[in-house]
């Protein structure tokens, strides 16, 4: 499907493209660890695809439980995209998740590749919700 410009795209194709199944993830806004939500396993599959959940952690067993595995994945995602690290599926995090993206993983073998060039060390100020970043060149 190649078009010289966007106005040349047939309207019916635009409608198909609008129905992005990732948008259903927005229904999980506010979900947090310790509870169970219908369809949450699909979000786990998303995080697994991009490396945030290692193969070994799930062994193919995707449940709808918001467990520590998913919480860790959400926190790593939030760190990578420099969002507030809460471990909760807040609105800003999910609006990021549904953006079209490259299929290459952000995390390999449990380590974020997004931090491999410039080494970034993050110190969390416990209980203050603040983060201090320093970059080593």
């Amino acid at each position: 499907s190649f078009y010289p410009n966007s106005s040349a795209i047939p309207p019916e194709l635009l409608r198909n493209a609008t129905g992005n199944p990732w948008n259903t993830f927005l229904n999980f806004t506010g979900c947090h660890a310790g509870k169970k939500y219908d369809g949450l396993y699909k979000l786990k599959q998303y995080f697994k695809h991009f490396g945030y959940i290692p193969e070994t952690d799930l062994s193919g067993n995707f449940t709808d439980d918001f467990d520590d595995i998913l919480k860790n994945a959400v926190e790593m995602y939030q760190r990578n995209f420099q969002l507030n690290v809460t471990g909760v599926l807040d609105e800003l995090t999910l609006k990021h998740v549904v953006i079209p993206r490259c299929g290459n993983p952000d995390v390999v073998n449990g380590t974020s590749t997004m931090h491999s060039g410039r080494r970034t060390f993050e110190v969390s100020l416990a209980g203050r919700g603040q983060h201090f970043h320093t970059v080593k060149h």
């Binding site: 499907s1 194709l13 420099q82 953006i99 079209p100 490259c102 952000d106 590749t113 931090h115």
Partner: protein, 194 residues
């Protein structure tokens, strides 16, 4: 910027790289020229060269548009989700989702295109070539190697972060004296709205 684990790169004896298109896609010259422009952006800042050839099976870099499962275990998923993926050096496989609405004209300059459900091909090509050269995803929002691209957005200019990353791997282009702008700073997070 970041690299793949182990910092793989094209070896010193393979810096003049060839690329070819899957003949089954029957791409037009207009589409192929988009990739030429994308390769040129990386060639400008490195000692690497990229030459288009016809032999798909023996080229260093092989480019193809596919839908769903296409043989590498990483199936594409339809419009406006996963757009493309590329392998680290020296594999050279560059796959794009054939179900996207690809815009090839360069509409929008370096900004927004008028339809949110369209994807600018050159923007994605520049990003994936970064992977082919050994760059991973960057946490610098606004850089080419940032993992996401907002809908209807065109982003093709290498930023300082991208250039520093690729020049760490290969050095600079001795004929390049230009400078790169830093990525645009944004106070608001990308929300996907366009």
């Amino acid at each position: 910027y970041s690299f793949f684990p182990g910092e793989p790169r094209w070896p010193r004896n393979r810096r003049d790289l060839t690329y070819a298109f899957d003949p089954r896609n029957s791409l037009t010259e207009e589409v192929k020229s988009v990739f030429s422009r994308a390769f040129a952006r990386w060639a400008e800042v490195t000692p690497l060269t990229f030459t288009r050839v016809e032999r798909f099976s023996t080229s260093d870099i092989s480019i193809g548009f596919y839908s769903g499962e296409h043989g590498d275990g990483e199936p594409f998923d339809g419009p406006m989700r996963t757009l493309a993926h590329a392998f680290s050096p020296p594999t050279g496989h560059f796959h794009l989702d054939g179900e996207e609405n690809w815009v090839v004209s360069g509409e929008g300059g370096d900004g927004f295109i008028s339809v949110a459900e369209a994807v600018d091909l050159e923007s994605v090509a520049v990003h994936e070539i970064g992977h082919l050269l050994g760059l991973g995803h960057s946490l610098v929002e606004g850089s080419i190697m940032y993992p996401t691209i907002r809908t209807g957005r065109r982003k093709v200019d290498l930023t300082t972060d991208d250039v520093e990353g690729v020049q760490y791997l290969y050095g600079g282009n001795p004929n390049f004296n230009g400078s790169r702008s830093p990525p645009p700073s944004t106070q608001q997070r990308d929300t996907g709205d366009s």
